[in-house]
């Protein structure tokens, strides 16, 4: 009697463990999706217009309106595209996890998820690093190349860019965790008995 109860308890434990792992993975995916989506939106809507006084002619100042947009810098364009694709990937993976449990392709489902996660990590890391170094040049300038810093004039633009980069870095760390979990799932998957 006692042994039978122990057996039932053990079976109960093993069947609930993959379910809690599945919910952990899903939660981290949702967080990563939110982080990359935030980064995409904040950078895509990053725009600041400023009117500067360039010169004085007599007593009337000549004003010049300058706009700082994210499209001016190819690094930021790449950043937006990379984070957009990463959010799309996370969204697809969440949908597949919730609604498409039966989707499979010659038993390669877990392998494809792991490989796609790795490519997304690569994409986010490329975008985040390019944007970080461009933002560093914008903030500090480069005296050797005579590039003036622009953050003292366009403070809001720089602040928003910084927030987007931080969000993308958080998304990158979360995606790394997700990739590790996917690879772990792949390597530990129960070997199916061939018919």
């Amino acid at each position: 009697m006692g042994l039978q109860n122990e057996e039932k308890l053990e079976l109960g434990c093993s069947s609930s463990q993959p379910r809690s792992k599945k919910w952990v993975l899903l939660t981290v995916r949702v967080l990563a999706f939110l982080a990359t989506a935030t980064a995409t939106l904040v950078m895509a809507l990053n725009k600041e217009t400023k009117t500067l006084v360039v010169a004085m002619v007599g007593s009337t100042p000549i004003k010049v309106t300058l706009t700082a947009k994210f499209q001016h810098t190819p690094a930021f364009v790449f950043f937006v595209i990379a984070n957009g694709m990463a959010s799309f990937h996370n969204l697809m993976m969440i949908m597949v996890e919730l609604f498409g449990q039966k989707l499979d392709y010659k038993g390669l489902r877990l392998a494809m998820i792991a490989i796609l996660d790795m490519t997304t990590v690569a994409l986010i890391s490329g975008g985040a690093s390019a944007a970080t170094f461009m933002a560093e040049v914008g903030k500090n300038g480069n005296s050797h190349a005579r590039w003036n810093k622009i953050c003292d004039k366009f403070e809001t633009f720089c602040d928003r860019g910084g927030v987007a980069i931080i969000a993308s870095s958080a998304g990158l760390i979360l995606m790394l965790i997700i990739t590790a979990m996917s690879i772990f799932k792949l390597l530990n998957k129960p070997k199916s008995v061939s018919s």
Partner: protein
């Protein structure tokens, strides 16, 4: 007699090691003195933190590649090598991406921010930096091929039908 699989893997790793070493050397030895309207200046890779990051990242991967070349085939450390390959691919991608972003501004300038292109004055420096970036790219692609190859070798036993 070395198995062909091991020979292919060894060859790929040697190519990866060689190209990261080439990238480090090309970038680190790139400097040029020039004059710009009687103002003389020198362009070095240390002028930009992005190029410094590129050199450091590729140096780390070079040391790693060198150490992995001497790993005997049967040891269990190969699982760790698989994980480290992924981490170093990420490092390489981020270093190339950063260096390329700055190099693009150096070549084309950014008229909106009043940043003038500098490649006109220091053409030799720009060419050498381009060479280093190309070497970095080839190293990255080689490491990706190695990673896919390792995963394929690892997963193959799982797909064997009885």
């Amino acid at each position: 007699m070395i198995k062909p699989k091991r020979l292919l893997s060894l060859l790929l790793r040697f190519i990866a090691f060689g190209t990261t070493l080439a990238a480090v050397i090309l970038m680190a030895t790139s400097h040029e003195k020039g004059t710009f309207f009687a103002v003389s200046y020198e362009a070095k890779y240390t002028d930009t933190p992005a190029f410094k990051y590129f050199v450091i990242a590729n140096a780390i991967v070079t040391v790693y590649g060198f150490l992995v070349l001497f790993l005997p085939p049967g040891s269990p450390i190969w699982r760790l090598v698989l994980a480290l390959d992924l981490v170093f691919i990420m490092l390489l991608i981020s270093s190339i991406s950063a260096a390329m972003a700055i190099a693009q501004v150096g070549k084309n300038g950014n008229p909106r921010a009043a940043w003038l292109p500098v490649c006109g004055q220091v053409a030799k420096f720009c060419n050498q930096v381009t060479g280093a970036l190309v070497a970095g790219f080839i190293a990255l692609i080689t490491y990706i091929i190695l990673l896919l190859y390792s995963i394929y070798n690892f997963l193959n036993p799982l797909f064997e039908k009885a």
